[in-house]
Subunit: 210 residues, 2 copies
């Protein structure tokens, strides 16, 4: 008698070869079972609840609803499910969208089946498995610009501005006068070559100053 049922996997992927390849490999080399596969999310939508999957392996480019948009719908249908993206896309934008929408892992399609099996184990244990190059892009997206032209105080104030604070709230929070805040903001605008809050935030975000 085994300790618990094998985790249930569903693969949603339009390429039949990939679908069958991963299915075979997962079923034959791991303690997990692929309970169903679908060629698109639109086909999966009505039936996947009955599969009761623990993990979904999801493509992005598919006929009909794309994988990115499918994630929140799948999470609503199956709140406990872990979704691992398996796709050819690895632009920072798409990776971050997938993770923002609720994906728990992200791999590119050249990934060996053994790594996918490790990834299934990893999500089930509360990890966040990613390809090295994906992890790199995620980390890069979090990094600040080390060559900011702003001083510490200016950076601090710009950060409060990006959080929507107004001059008086900033003054209160930093225990300084509102006129001092104004001076800092004026200096920030000069350094960033802007003349409004909106543009300052835009420059701050695009140059990762905060």
């Amino acid at each position: 008698m085994q300790n618990q049922a094998a985790a249930r996997i569903v693969i949603i992927e339009d390429d039949q070869t990939i679908r069958e390849g991963y299915t075979y490999l997962i079923n034959h080399t791991s303690p997990y079972q692929v309970v169903n596969t679908y060629p698109s999310f639109d086909v999966a939508r009505q039936k996947i609840s009955k599969d009761n999957p623990d993990v979904i392996i999801l493509d992005i480019q598919m006929p009909g609803t794309n994988g990115i948009d499918a994630i929140p719908i799948l999470k609503k249908l199956l709140p406990q499910v872990y979704i691992i993206m398996l796709t050819v896309y690895e632009t920072e934008k798409i990776i971050l969208e997938a993770l923002a929408n609720g994906a728990s892992g992200y791999f590119t399609k050249n990934t060996a089946a053994s790594k996918i099996i490790e990834a299934i184990k990893d999500v089930l244990q509360g990890g966040g498995p990613m390809s090295p190059s994906v992890a790199k892009k995620v980390i890069t997206s979090l990094q600040k610009n080390p060559d900011s032209p702003l001083t510490k105080r200016e950076t601090q104030i710009l950060s409060l501005i990006t959080r929507g604070k107004d001059r008086s709230q900033i003054a209160n929070e930093l225990f300084i006068e509102i006129e001092t805040v104004k001076t800092h903001i004026k200096n920030i605008y000069v350094k960033l070559n802007v003349n409004s809050k909106a543009d300052a935030i835009k420059v701050a975000k695009s140059n990762r100053l905060v």
Copy 2:
């Protein structure tokens, strides 16, 4: 004759046992060499440039300057260096601060030396190595709330507000009237139970609505 010089590693870590343990293991089981070790950043500061490291393994809690604050200074001294954090801390806040400051990888101290050696290989090849639990926290920090009370349009407008756009800019961007934007904002305020932009942004960020 070997293809290239072994990558040069420096360890900055106040615990002598850990320092010596990892040094031994890296030097004896991998193609990398630990060229120097330091018990604190303040000791390392003046001499590390001469070590010319490719990778620094960095603790956070140390006498003097902590590891988080040390990262940008090290990056300024050695712009090409990869920094891998090795620490007992794994709160989301500290992890994100370390990565924002320029760390390329992050591990907790119970990590096996073999994983650290893999991590060194990984950063040198352009990856972003992390412990599974660290990767999980990084991914969680990027995820949106799937149960937002806001409609698509409201979410879109709130997102533009968080980017510092004012009513007229939002109206222009979405090709709608400024009065319509006002209406959406009023509805957002009611749903979020706030009555100012700053509070809306605060609620949006703390509940990951955008």
